[in-house]
Subunit: 341 residues, 2 copies
Amino acid sequence: MSEKKYLILAEGFSDDVHYGKTLRGVMRYRRESVVAILDTQRAGESDDGVPIVATVDEGMQHGPSAALVGVVTQGGRFPGDWQELLKSCVTHGLDLENGLHVRLHDIPGLPELAREHGVELRDLREPPRDLSTATGANLEVDGTIVLTVGSDCAIGKMTATCELDLEARKRGLRSVFVPTGQTGIAIAGWGIAVDAVVSDFLAGAAERLVVEGAKRGDLLWVEGQGAILHPVYSGVTVGLIHGSAPHLYVLCHEVGRTITEGDPTESPLPSLPELIQLHERMSLKRRPAKVVAISLNTSTVSEDEARAAVAAAEDETGLPADDPVRFGAGKLLEAVLNAQS
Amino acid sequence: MSEKKYLILAEGFSDDVHYGKTLRGVMRYRRESVVAILDTQRAGESDDGVPIVATVDEGMQHGPSAALVGVVTQGGRFPGDWQELLKSCVTHGLDLENGLHVRLHDIPGLPELAREHGVELRDLREPPRDLSTATGANLEVDGTIVLTVGSDCAIGKMTATCELDLEARKRGLRSVFVPTGQTGIAIAGWGIAVDAVVSDFLAGAAERLVVEGAKRGDLLWVEGQGAILHPVYSGVTVGLIHGSAPHLYVLCHEVGRTITEGDPTESPLPSLPELIQLHERMSLKRRPAKVVAISLNTSTVSEDEARAAVAAAEDETGLPADDPVRFGAGKLLEAVLNAQS
């Protein structure tokens, strides 16, 4: 898709699954776009065949066209040495991409320097300025739209979406990951962080994403957000459901989770059958959508327990279930492809 | 509630139900706060006992503390003569309140003039700057929270909410109208336009409204927005449902409407029984809420047809139904009070 070649800035965290999650995501789902990783602490090593370098100068030898901020900053700002690093990228002629809340445009002197060197600063989390309300163009999209939804926030919807897209691409399908949140956007290099959009334009933003996605392929995997009964984030969830107008849902759940996360009232989670019915009934009248598979996150249990949980979810729902990270995304993908035809 | 005394600016439209809808709303639901109306075209007349004046000078004789923009501007900006009028209010020492999209703060010279004269400019539609995500404080509110929901946008949810509040106040209850949209805010002089809030803070804004409302009374009528299956605005609807955490719903519908408004895809409306079930199932796990009455807007049909429609809605749903504008809000209010006890 993107022709860009990235130097990924991952100073100090290139092997950290949390702080380095953007890097790890790009390395797993968009490996072909990465030419070098910058991390002085691992300089000289390589990571899945990608050289790790200590300086931007060294990184330039591998031919990057852009630098991507690949770590989560601590404290929500770029510290001084990061600011120097970003400026060094700009003076080397690299575009900069950043998916964090903290903005490149707020670093003193950086926008001026970028203009001077003719490079682009992209704060991926900033919503487009020209958003508007939904128009119905979502129903005209030529392709199949699959939305991941979940029993809760932070249960692996983005990962499930990326795994399904990756597996579909491996099989030669014209598959597209459609990112709706900060990390997904940083991984894919496009998208809209729908939770940052003014409420009136929520469905309009989701609609734009599927219209845009359809220019890139015809099997669209839309990253879900929040949960339909989450006391804090449900508005985003439902705006995304109606704006992205999915044909099919994949319902995501984490084995063992019974209480909402990021919710001070600690609500009990609905059962999988209740969630299936609720999502189907909440789908658009002009686009009734079915849940066709259950994606389980079994990362907290043993492999035996994981297999038992998959079987239990299939019994409870009558739908194919699997953990796409642990056991591969093939089974879930086939459930979607079968429902599509 | 408010101690403010208003001069309402309604130049040209003081008897227009559309362009003068803020004025008409304030006159009906907050009559006690109005001391004069400015409209040169009707100067010398009176409106429900309120004198109509031609100039701010004349208006000042009736002792206002603030001026309220009581009309909808055409073209989304204040034309030159309006700008002069607003400046004249400021130089007379009046605070200004405005519920329109167009901002007082954007009128050249007005903010400086306001500072000079020590008066306040309040753009009621601007969301507070310190909003955050919902905290669970909505579940701690001491009082009964009633949310109006609807089969569609623009079917009279605000009017039904105001009529219920007015009837409750007439009966001596500590009743509060909780405004969530531009016109309601202009009428009540407080509130948050929830559709203007960043999506992440939607439930947080609704929560703040009920927490604030509970300082003003213990029977809170929250103005609903959009509709739960509206393809464009459902995100706002659901965020408002979960953030305001109602104990009870009043379901609003317009007789004869079968297709969504403000939706280019013209979705069919769900039936009343389907809407009742969907709203009850979409309520918070920690605050299950019931629909207790049906508020019908019968303004497009004859009185006989209206009575027949009320009876039909009662048959279809098994709940009390009525048109609070045409037949009074007593029956709906009693349904709510019965459900509350």
